[in-house]
Symmetry: C2
Subunit: 214 residues, 2 copies
DNA sequence: CGGGTCTTTGAATAGTTTCAAGTACAGTGG
DNA sequence: CCACTGTACTTGAAACTATTCAAAGACCCG
């Protein structure tokens, strides 16, 4: 039995004990299905559920008063999201493509939090890494890093399909769709990547891409 | 007895149970003192301690290969930091001015994590809020928001002293010191704030400042 | 094969950074 | 008490990067 399903493959668990099995309480749950763009939760809605992606993908974002959107995170199979300490959501979670999630109630069984701690810490770490990206990297560096991230999360494949449209990438990286497109074109012209249609990405020079995003 | 010391004043605790008192285990600890600029932990160092600021302030940051720095968070009295799931630190934590912290070991007593969960969730929420700031706000908006944040954390005072130099503000907001300076000048010329020396800030038009950062 | 959406490309603009001085401030020693 | 010195901060001008606005091109689905 694999008790480390709570964390992404390849990530070490250091100080955090993995004792209490959230496992059983989650696996027995039904999968809730969502269609592309359907919202899983919205701002103002009561929180109190934690969600795990079973298939498909999820974007979590917030929108400023003037309409500018920032995608805080993408979540894929196995990732937990929706974990928070306030009683109402501030962000929106939406399905990207056909998506299935399982959820557990946090109120019913407060014990569940223990098993979710590694997931919270992982979300936290991702948020910090992303601060570095959007705070201190250029457009090409951000896009390069994004492709590597997507490659990793597609099982370290050199050839993969992006789940999301350009506008999602832009709002995740703090750029515009035009800048994302231009950055991809630059990487393509340098022979570092190849584009197969709008969503298909092939990483030709993995090492160069890694050097690019520092 | 106040069991909500783990969270900043004014923040609601929703779904998270506050049961296990990390409290007693922390209060009995000695205060460790640091001088200005002294590092509390550095990248590569073994993690396994959680820290709480007793007095002074702490900056947590990461540096990219090319030397660009991003301050991930500032921590003031009562704030917890250093919480993570990996066994080695990736970031640096440094004292800003004379600073005292208490620390608890996470390995010795894994139970401690339960009491720290609200702190982790709060750090996570702050990181998300900050993504929005550096991803989607202009320079003046960022600085305006920063001043409000510092005002809040100084007990909602309209007149307060900044703990940190411009370079820290810049690296926190993903800007340069010149842009921070120019933004402050703009706010000053509009009569929204007054500057008293380099560190003293007086918010004249609180409402206007709030509208500015959306 | 057609229609609508998503993506790319181009040109002009706006905002931030970079480089370079100049100014204010705190601490030190005369 | 005041000049001196180093650091921190502000200001200006030029360069650069990303955005905005506009249009053309590619792709997907029925």
């Amino acid at each position: 039995m694999n008790t480390s399903i709570l964390v992404s493959p390849g990530r070490l668990i250091g100080a955090v004990p993995m004792r209490p099995p959230t496992q059983g309480q989650v696996e027995s749950r039904p999968i809730i299905s969502f269609i592309d763009g359907q919202s899983i939760y919205s701002p103002g809605q009561r929180a109190g559920q934690a969600y795990r992606v079973e298939f498909g993908a999820v974007r979590v974002y917030r929108v400023l008063a003037n309409g500018r959107r920032q995608i805080l995170a993408f979540h894929f199979g196995g990732n937990w999201f929706g974990l928070q300490n306030e009683d109402r959501h501030r962000s929106t979670a939406e399905a990207i493509g056909a998506t299935g999630v399982k959820s557990v109630s946090l109120q019913e069984d407060p014990h569940i939090w223990q098993g979710l701690l590694p997931a919270v810490l992982e979300n936290f770490l991702s948020a910090q890494e992303h601060q570095l990206v959007i705070g201190r990297q250029s457009a090409v560096e951000r896009v390069a890093g994004f492709l590597l991230e997507m490659s990793d999360r597609s099982g370290h494949s050199h050839r993969f399909e992006l789940f999301m449209p350009r506008v999602d990438i832009a709002d995740y990286l703090g750029l515009t769709i035009e800048t994302v497109s231009r950055s991809l074109t630059k990487l393509k012209k340098k022979g570092i990547i190849k584009l197969h249609g709008a969503r298909g990405i092939e990483i030709v020079a993995y090492g160069v891409l890694q050097k690019l995003c520092l």
